[in-house]
Symmetry: C2
C-alpha cells in the first residue's frame, strides 16, 4: 500500500502522467516472462531522469515501499514480478543512446534502450557488441545488465559482464554514484561496476551504462552436424576445444528437441538422429575458413552422420533456424513451458544431458534439452501444465535433481537466467550457507530497509538438498 502522503510525493517528482495506478496498468506490470508468477504492484512510475530516480528511491526508503526496476520483463526467473507490491519503475523515458565513441570503441546508453536497437546502432558503425540473449529484440539493456545476460556467443566472447565498463547507479539510499570509465584499466576502488552486473535490481537502480565494443568480425560461417549419439556430439565439442579452436557459437539440440523442432519448423532434420551441433565461427576470412574446415574434419572423425557447411549467408541463417526455433517449437506442446539453465563445465556436457534424460524418465516428466554446448550452459526445458499440481510437483523434483547434478559436476544452478524467485531456494546449494550469508551482509549494508526488489535472490526458505535415491 502506498499512503496518500507518499503518492503525493511521487506525483511531485514524476508528474501525473508518469504515475500509473489504474487496475489495468497494475495488471500489465504484474508478471514477467516466467510462468506461474503474478502479483500486483501498487503503482508504476516512469521517471524521466536520474535525479527523479534518486528522489523516488528516497521516498521509497522513507515509507518502506518496495521498488522493482523493470525493463521489458523477458527474464525467466520471476526477477521482475512485484511479489511484495510497491512500485514498478520503468524506463520508457530513459532509453536513449547517448554516444557511440568510435575512437575509444564504446557506447553509452540509458537502461530503457532495447538491446537490439543498441546492437544495430553500433553495427552500423562497424562495431560489435557480442552478447546476444535470445530475447534481444524485446529485452532492454538495463535488464541485460541486471541479469548479466548471456547468449549464443558466450564461449568465444563472454557475457554482459565482460562488456560493461562504466555505470551510473542510484544506490538504495538515493546517492548517485558513477563507477568505471572509458578505460580498459581502472583499479580506483572496489569494482562496483561488476558488482552491479547481475545483482538483479537488489542493490540499486542502474541509470546509465558504458559498454566496450570490438571491431565487427570480417566474416562468419555456419555449419550443422548430425550425430547418432549424444556422446559423439560431446566428444566433438571437447575435440574442437582441444584443437585450440574457439568457435563463436557451439550449440546443441538433443533428440527430443530435434523431433519437436522438425515437427514445428519443417526444415528437413532427420528425427531419428541422437544430437545436432550448430557451429559458427567468425573473424578474418582466412581464419574462419581454416577453422570451419578443421571443425568439419573433427565432426567426421567423431562419426557425424552428416556435416553441412553453409555456402551463403542465407544458407547459414537457414541452418540456425533449428536452434533459434527450439523454444517456440517446445512452447506450443503444452500450456506451460519451464526453461531452465543449469550449467556445467564444458567437458561435462554429455554426462549432464544423459543425466537429465534419466531424471526426466524417473520422474515421468517431458524434458527436452538444448543450449550452448560450448560454454556448458544447457537449457533443459519442461513442457507441462501449471494447473496440474501433481505433475508440477514431479517437475519441481526433476529440476531439483538437475540442479543437484549440475553442482556435483562443478556447475551452477543458473548460467544466464538469474536467481530471482525461481532459483532462490537453491542458491545455497551453489554458494554454501556462508556464501549466502555474505550476500545478505552486503545486501543489508546497502539496503537496510530491503526496498530494492525484495523477495528476489534471497529465499524465505531454502530447499534442503534432495536425497536422490537411485
Amino acid at each position: 500500500m502506498i499512503s496518500q502522503e507518499a503518492k503525493k510525493k511521487f506525483l511531485g517528482i514524476v508528474g501525473e502522467k508518469n504515475y500509473l495506478d489504474s487496475k489495468q496498468s497494475l495488471v500489465a506490470y504484474s508478471y514477467d516472462a516466467t510462468p506461474n508468477y503474478q502479483a500486483l504492484p501498487d503503482a508504476v512510475l516512469k521517471p524521466r531522469n536520474t535525479q527523479e530516480v534518486s528522489e523516488i528511491v528516497k521516498v521509497c526508503n522513507e515509507y518502506k515501499i518496495p521498488i522493482v526496476p523493470r525493463g521489458n520483463a523477458t527474464n525467466l526467473c520471476a526477477g521482475t514480478c512485484p511479489l511484495e507490491g510497491g512500485i514498478v519503475l520503468i524506463f520508457n523515458h530513459i532509453n536513449q543512446i547517448l554516444e557511440i565513441d568510435e575512437e575509444n570503441l564504446t557506447v553509452t546508453v540509458q537502461p530503457g534502450l532495447i538491446t537490439l536497437d543498441m546492437i544495430n546502432a553500433v553495427e552500423a558503425k562497424g562495431l560489435f557488441y557480442p552478447p546476444d540473449p535470445s530475447s534481444m529484440k524485446i529485452s532492454t539493456i538495463g535488464g541485460n545488465i541486471n541479469e548479466c545476460s548471456g547468449g549464443l556467443r558466450g564461449l568465444k566472447y563472454g557475457v554482459t559482464r565482460d562488456y560493461v565498463i562504466a555505470l551510473e547507479t542510484v544506490l538504495p539510499n538515493g546517492n548517485i554514484i558513477r563507477t568505471g570509465g572509458k578505460l580498459a584499466k581502472d583499479v580506483a576502488g572496489y569494482d562496483f561496476t561488476r558488482l552491479m552486473v547481475g545483482s538483479e535490481g537488489t542493490l540499486g537502480v542502474i541509470t546509465e551504462a558504458t559498454f566496450k565494443l570490438i571491431p565487427m568480425p570480417e566474416a562468419k560461417k555456419t555449419m550443422l552436424a548430425l550425430y547418432d549419439s549424444l556422446e559423439s556430439a560431446g566428444r566433438t565439442v571437447s575435440k574442437i576445444i582441444a584443437n585450440k579452436i574457439i568457435p563463436t557459437t557451439l550449440e546443441f539440440l538433443d533428440q527430443p528437441t530435434i523431433r519437436v523442432v522438425e515437427d514445428f519448423a519443417k526444415i528437413g532434420l532427420p528425427t531419428d538422429v541422437g544430437a545436432v551441433l550448430l557451429i559458427e565461427q567468425d573473424g578474418p576470412i582466412e581464419v574462419v575458413e581454416k577453422d570451419i574446415n578443421r571443425i568439419a574434419e573433427i565432426c567426421e572423425e567423431e562419426k557425424a552422420l552428416s556435416v553441412q557447411v553453409a555456402q551463403t549467408v542465407e544458407e547459414g541463417t537457414a541452418l540456425t533456424t533449428a536452434r533459434r526455433s527450439a523454444l517456440s517449437a517446445l512452447a506450443r506442446l503444452k500450456p506451460t513451458t519451464i526453461l531452465e539453465d543449469a550449467t556445467v563445465p564444458r567437458s561435462k556436457i554429455a554426462e549432464m544431458v544423459r543425466e537429465i534424460e534419466e531424471i526426466a524418465k524417473r520422474n515421468n516428466v517431458q524434458i527436452c534439452t538444448f543450449g550452448h554446448a560450448g560454454d556448458g550452459n544447457l537449457h533443459p526445458t519442461c513442457m507441462t501444465d501449471a494447473r496440474d499440481k501433481e505433475e508440477m510437483h514431479r517437475v519441481e523434483i526433476a529440476f531439483e535433481e538437475i540442479f543437484e547434478k549440475a553442482i556435483e559436476l562443478g556447475g551452477t544452478i543458473t548460467g544466464e537466467h538469474g536467481v530471482g524467485v525461481m532459483k532462490s531456494p537453491y542458491l545455497a546449494w551453489k554458494l554454501g550457507e556462508e556464501g549466502v550469508e555474505a550476500m545478505k551482509t552486503l545486501k543489508l549494508a546497502f539496503d537496510p530497509n530491503n526496498i530494492m526488489n525484495p523477495g528476489k535472490m534471497f529465499a524465505k526458505e531454502s530447499r534442503k538438498r534432495v536425497v536422490v535415491t537411485r
Copy 2:
C-alpha cells in the same frame, strides 16, 4: 602489539617454524616496492592451508590484530606495507599449481605462486594467460588478483579481472567461501569473484583461484616507429583503432624517456625523436601479417620518421628492449623513482602527455612518461630524492595536478597499480564522496573490526582538489 595469549593461539595454528617475529624477519617484511613507506609488523605468519588462514583470521578478529596479506610485495601503492603493525600473512606454503584443465581451458592455482611460473606452465600446454604485469618474474598470482594487475597486453586481452573465474576466499569473519567455477556463464548470486579482484586485501584473503585461459596465439610480430612529435604518435594510435585493428601491444615512450633509455641500453635509438611507439600483433599468421603491414602504412601516413618491423623473434625482442628497460633506465638517475599510472581514454593520450610535460616544467620536477598508449594507461615517472623535502613537495603537487587532469579527461587516478596508501587521498576525486561512502559501507559490513589491511584504500584524510592556477 600481539599479546602472549594471541601469540600462543597463532603458534597453535601454524607451529613455531611458521611464526616469525625476530627483528630481522620484521624488517624484511616492513616495506614493499613503493619508495618512502616502511613500518614494522608485529609478526609474520606462514599458513600451510586455507583452514589455517581461516583460524588466523578468527584470532585476529578476536584480538583486533591487523592482517596484511602479502605476495612478493612488488606493488607500487604501498599496498602491502604493514602501516598499522599486526601480522603479515605470506604464502610460501600455499603456492602450487593445482590443475591445468585442458578440456575446459582453465588453470587452478594457489596465491603464493609466481606469476611467470604459472604463465610458463600453461604455455607449455599451448595455452595462454594474457595479463603480463612488468613484475611477473617476481610477483605472485595472489598479489596480481588483489591488485587487478594489468600489463602490456591490456588493450587486446584485458587485465587480471577478465581471467579470474573462480575464487576461494577467507572472509574477515573467518568464513571460507567458494565463488564462480569453470564456467563461462554463472549468475548464481552477487559477483563476489570480481568484487575480490582489486580489493587489495581489504575484504578477505584469497586462498585459491581459477583462471580461464585461451589458446596460444599462432604467431607474433613486433615493430617500432619513431616520430618527430607526440601528436603524430597519438594520431597513429587513434588511426590504428579507427581502422578496426586491435594490436596486442601499443606502447609509447616520450622524448625524455627515449634519451634516458638510449643512454642506459645503447640500442641505437636517435635521442632527438619526439616519441616512440612499440607495436605488437599476435594471432593467426595471415592476420598478423595483414595487420602489421596495415599498421606500418598508417605509421608512414602519420609521418613516422622510421618504421622498423622485426623479421625474427630475436629482432622483435631487441625492439622491445627500449620499452622493457624504461623503468630500470630511469631508476638509476636519482635516488628515488616514483612511477605513477594515471590513465585516460585512449583518445586523450597525446593531450595528457603534453599536459604532463607542462606540469613537470611548471613545478620544476623531472618527469618522463612511457606506458600503454593503446589502453590509455600512462606511467609518468618522476626521478627525485625522497630526502629533499622541498622537492618532494613539488613532486606531490605535480602528481596531484596529473591526477586532476586525468580525471578531467575522463580517466582515473590508477589504471593498474592500485590505491593502497599512495593514492587513497585522491580516491574521492575519481569516485566522488558518495562513491567512497559506498566503499566504506561495504568494507564496514564485511570487516567491522577493520582488521583486513587497515589504512589502505581509505584515507585518513582526503586531499582537497588542487586549485590549479594556470
